[in-house]
């Protein structure tokens, strides 16, 4: 094992909403330069778990360490400041706002007293558009409203935004949902590029082919607990699917 502590370490995480226990005693680690896939049925607790990491929810119990430091996620802003960015299922874009306003939402570049550095925001968005988002259409500019983009282009904006702020951990919640095949390819490429930059990601997707394609490690969540942890090197895609089916059937039987 490396002397460097894992990027993210969660110990004994519990989360209840009222009387409903959504997460029961979750231990999860993400190493540097690693893509970890969270797999599980709808309602297994995946989204709750990542919203705890990003600071949207507070855990009922448990400890979280980020870069070796104990953290208590207070809110999204604090998590973003630590270097955790998320691409949510809902994409977290505001459709009637300009591209540049979306890229810098909640992280505005300012000059003094909170006044926007419009030139820098537009310039950086322009650069991101051409390099990362793959937005090459002449019709789209930094001033275009996001509503004019296709589903894949919107996802590109959300991912490029997460990468732009130099996060060490990027969480992707169902990033390929509703995308065409070409768009999905691009998203998977984005995801692999996270590892190439030495950053880490938590990847959630219902499509097991996508998951197997990009992840180094699979963590299967079932009804609020971790049911299985598998390394990509120790499992074939077929074996992974088999494991999922077995778990699903045992769950249905009980």
């Amino acid at each position: 094992m490396n002397a460097k502590p894992p990027l993210l370490q969660m110990k004994g995480i519990q989360k209840s909403f009222g009387h409903v226990r959504v997460l029961k005693d979750i231990d999860l680690e993400v190493n540097w330069g690693e893509i970890v896939a969270l797999i599980g049925d709808n309602g297994a607790g995946k989204s709750t778990l990542i919203k705890i990491i990003t600071g949207v929810y507070k855990p009922t119990d448990g400890e979280i360490y980020f870069k070796g430091q104990r953290i208590t996620p207070r809110d999204v802003r604090a998590s973003r400041a630590l270097g955790i960015e998320a691409v949510y299922q809902e994409r977290a874009l505001a459709e009637q706002q300009e591209l540049w306003r979306n890229v810098f939402a909640g992280h505005e570049r300012t000059t003094f007293l909170g006044f926007l550095d419009l030139a820098a925001q537009r310039r950086e968005t322009e650069r991101l558009m051409r390099t990362r988002m793959g937005l090459t259409s002449q019709a789209i500019t930094v001033d275009s409203e996001v509503v004019n983009l296709s589903g894949g282009e919107k996802q590109g904006v959300a991912i490029a935004r997460a990468l732009y702020f130099d996060a060490d951990l990027i969480i992707l919640d169902e990033p390929t949902m509703g995308l065409s095949i070409t768009e999905t390819d691009r998203v998977l490429k984005f995801t692999r590029s996270i590892r190439e930059q030495g950053k880490s990601a938590i990847f959630i997707d219902h499509n097991i082919f996508h998951v197997y394609d990009v992840a180094d490690r699979f963590v299967i969540i079932d009804r609020g607990s971790i049911a299985k942890r598998l390394l990509k090197s120790e499992v074939t895609r077929e074996k992974l699917i088999e494991t999922m089916v077995e778990l699903h059937e045992s769950g249905a039987a009980s």
Binding site: T54, G55, V56, D75, V76, R77, S79, R80, A86, Y88, E90, R91, A92, L93, A94, E95, Q96, Q97, R101, F104, A105, G106, H107, E108, T110, G114, F115, L116, L118, E126, R127, R130, T131, R132, G134, T136, Q138, A139, T141, V142, D143, V147, N148, T182, D185, R186, K189, F190, S193
Partner: protein
Amino acid sequence: MTVETTKRLPLRPAPQRSFFHVYRIQVSITALLLLLYVVFIIGDPKTYLSFNIYRSFMISIPFFGLMAMAATFIVTLGEIDLSFPSAAGMSGWVFASSYIYSGSFLLALVLCLATGALIGLINGLLVTKIGIPSIVATIGTMFLWGGLVNVVTEGHGIPMTQLLDDPLHALFVGQLFDRIPAQFIWFVAGSILMGVLYKRHRFGSHILFIGDNAESARMMGIHVDRVKILCFVIMGVSAALSVVFILNQLTFFWATTGSGYLLTTLAAVFIGGTSVFGGKGTMIGSFVGVLIIASLEPGIIAIGLTGFYTQFIYGLLITISVAVYALMLRRRD
């Protein structure tokens, strides 16, 4: 369409959208204002080519103009405030009674603005922390503060003619160069400040983002509740500052002070092109909207119609402009 190939694409300048397209709402409303003035000048050249009518506009427009600018923040959030006339009434009573009691303009001013801020804070807390839809919450507080003014005044007014001798009086309603009413300068300065906050400041960016999609804003770490509360506070303070102009101009506090501005103020915002659905708006539009609303009543009389037409023409303009903007801003998805 891949990362590798797009990296090699040269940066090229984005095609410029035409000025008219980007500012279509601001251009349309300014054209409407100019059109109205052409009609008024033709209808009554003697009145509309003299300075006097414009001076009287500059005296009365700030009575509701600042509130329209502040309401633009609230409407952009996708919220509404119906209680600001009562906020004006309540803070007006605080100004009048504390001025009469203490004789200190400054103290009365501070208490008045603090009252407006407190009323706004309460609205903001009701909407964000208790979770009452703003239209319902502010109907409640509209009656609450309006009713409280009735209770404390028992319907009686407060004469304040000694204001005329106060050195601070001229700061609010004096005439600059014997021509420009001070309140109009306050109004223009306040409008510029709010306009800059709206489009050139982090605060305005957050307002637009929240009004567009509050859930997205929350996920991006924007403090949604804090921004909303602050907007209601700005609304309350604007109502309080407006009533300072009104009281200094009239030197009399009526139990009904402030009432009557609700619909004209909101009409100015909507004629100005701020979207009822939130997320889109323009301060320039609201500013011109204020000028249009203020010009209509005297204008209607100037062109020879009776005052009975006023409300009808308000209604006509508001309905048409809101319909036109809805078509302009229709989402393309």
